[in-house]
Symmetry: D2
Subunit: 257 residues, 4 copies
């Protein structure tokens, strides 16, 4: 059978990224103590295509994924990128993985245990050097300082999603980023709270009001002092309880600059 | 050209619903004072298909929609259903329309004006009689009575979405259902609130705590007394500020039963 | 601390469903050979609430889930429902679980292996009897018989999603429903196809054209002959390659009727 | 009442973007002949915040939007950005608007008319200069050249979404970008096709096979020759009919580079 993809292309236009998108696959993550967490990832895998080839070979992306999906950690990503570059005869390789990750948390007073979900991402690019970005989205409570100040009683509060993305010179755990996010907000959230816990988190949030601006600045302060991290992007989106839209803030920083 | 759809089908299996789904179309709604609101609807149109025909004629749904999309009101739906039944030679016809609808609201103290979006739906079924259901989703604030009671200060609150669907013997306005929803919760939400308004809604919600159960019961009380409405389904989903999941409640009632 | 939820409610309105919604949790499914598949589920858990109680106890839903999420099979659902009824002092209990499930499939010619994702659901209701519904969504290819007939060459085809839901008197495997879905369409889809496989599935689909109506009728024929199944709802949504909307069909049947 | 937002902030961290996100608002677009199209937009509006202020004033974003939403065109965006900068005492202002836009199209043979929806975007940033980006997503049909070549009959095809974003020195119409997208694929899609039209588009796609790589290269060739456009990003996502994932390609180019 003819290999149409290998045909010469005369349009003289290189392609930045070509590949498979939104492939959902089961993955096994190796975590802090080298133990495993099985989860489900949405995966994009792209390479560049030189100007003189008509098409890339899409099935090879899935073959490479098959060799690795049952044993992934952040440094396996680099191996996956090298295989992509070599088997697809490309100059660059790019992968994005999005997956829920679960931690067992204890309620603050009752110590009742439950699982909380964090949406995480790994992004890797190989273009000469390898560039890796680790990301996590953390649900939290934020309570509005202005509302607290001006109202005689109460204060509006809401669920917010904090997003942290980092580039680092030495390994950073998802668990560490979650911890930083949770202490930058008015209170963490939990899947299971008994009555004594609900009292605790209500009072904690009320004593600890945070604008969306406060949240991203607190995140920046924490990440500024972490020597392992040389780049970060932090965001907070507050699903305002008094509006039908969100309040949003973002800080991005490359520490060398 | 052969009409494959008109072929005889020997499998002897009638089809309950067949048609077009997720067709996005601009629509013009005629509102209370016969004035117009242009919006964008996601539309499903289905008919039944007798056991002896192989296929329906999909293009006719869009032709019928073309004749009506620029002048829709709740009683036009009935005419659309009759055309579907006749042109597609069906026994039954079914239509679902989902669309954002905007109202100008005034902030409670400053009277500053802004637009608030409500996701609405019309569903119509013609099967002998015509059965019409009007639906609206209304964003509101809910503040937790338990959290208020047990905490020394503050109370967790969040954005909630109230859903009301009704069947009626005499016209009910979308605006009336929105009003019922907003007074069943701790406070309405607004797109634009000045500082004096934020003080007002914070204090109003704090004085007016509502469980998700309270919300649906208040909705039911209101709709029970409305003589025009003979069936309703009310739901509230509270996007809890202390959890990463929702609290939910639902009441459905046919008044004859 | 006061138990506000236990307060007497004078509005005299019972609530049909109240509980937690959109809780994402890791679950472990026991499959055909009693082996395990770890996945991630979106879960809704509701009970009814008598007219004289103000609120339900939301944390108990999560406690019950904690006791079971690491060892679920279809008959465990019944045990979960009984616990919900008993611990929440309810007359009825309802659970819905939505989760991706993966099967390893072999490409039709090369036999290359890859994982395909199927979105599945379990729904259980306890109200006197237990009512269980198993559901699966299966991506397939459909090729249009009309387009094939009237065009000199080629035929439009597209990805479609078949949905099957069943009630049964004797266990039915997810794998069996997937098999029925895949043979009712023009061709199965695969995550990994080599060139010889692509030739095979292209030709298979072209020889095997199916309207959306054909798909649901073929599903109905298969399920009608399965003695274990006493109720089914089958749907197909074809994401038409020549339109920006879908073609859709549905058949629902209770065999006693 | 105290203006908490105006408080001095000692953390010494400027914020890149802060504002309102996912505000849905009705907008009126002025189109080619200065006529109007009413639609519904999802809008984000952000400014930067200097290191010494604690918070921005969120209500002012909505006030500015109120002054303009009933009469928007691409050059009004610049005026909105200038107001944001001035009223929020910021150095930079940023707006993003996402909205469906409808064109009436005629079927290729029958000339039957129907509306097709295109998801569009305007993005504007004021930071010294004004930077405007116009975007449009265009649904099309793509037919696989490899599948056509290797199969004896037929070829897999599917709906694809082409995305074009441009920066320009002289006005470019949404309609022009749609035209470029539709001729870069195997065939346009339509909401309404009669039988003779379906024959036409089936045959047209079969004669005109395009890889995802061909689509983006054809887009690039067209945009390269357009003197008004100095930057573009083009993407195509093909919702493969033989897989449960997409094929994807992207080219981005600044013509000066």
């Amino acid at each position: 059978m003819q290999d149409i993809q290998n045909q010469f292309d005369s349009r003289n236009i290189p392609i930045d990224q070509v590949g498979v998108k939104d492939l959902t696959y089961p993955i096994v993550l190796l975590d802090r103590e080298n133990e495993v967490q099985q989860t489900v990832a949405r995966i994009n895998m792209y390479v560049d295509l030189p100007h003189d080839f008509r098409g890339t070979h899409m099935s090879r992306f899935v073959e490479i994924l098959n060799e690795h999906h049952q044993r992934l950690k952040i440094d396996t990503i680099e191996e996956v990128l090298r295989k992509m570059k070599s088997r697809l005869k490309a100059e660059k390789a790019h992968i994005e993985m999005f997956f829920p990750y679960f931690l067992e948390k204890k309620a603050p007073v009752s110590r009742a245990r439950s699982m909380t979900k964090y949406e995480c991402s790994f992004t890797g690019e190989l273009d000469g050097d390898v560039d890796l970005v680790l990301g996590v989205k953390v649900p939290v409570t934020t309570l509005c300082p202005c509302s607290k100040e001006i109202a005689e009683e109460g204060a509006h509060n809401q669920r917010s999603i904090i997003s942290i993305q980092v580039r680092y010179s030495e390994l950073v755990w998802i668990e560490e980023l979650i911890e930083i996010a949770e202490k930058s907000a008015s209170s963490p959230v939990y899947s299971l709270l008994k009555r004594e816990d609900e009292k605790y988190v209500t009072e904690k949030a009320y004593k600890n009001p945070k604008f969306v601006e406060d949240v991203v600045r607190n995140l920046a302060l924490e990440l500024d002092t972490d020597q392992r991290i040389f780049w970060y992007k932090v965001e907070s989106e507050n699903f305002e309880s008094i509006h039908n839209h969100s309040a949003y803030a973002r800080i991005e920083k490359h520490k060398d600059k």
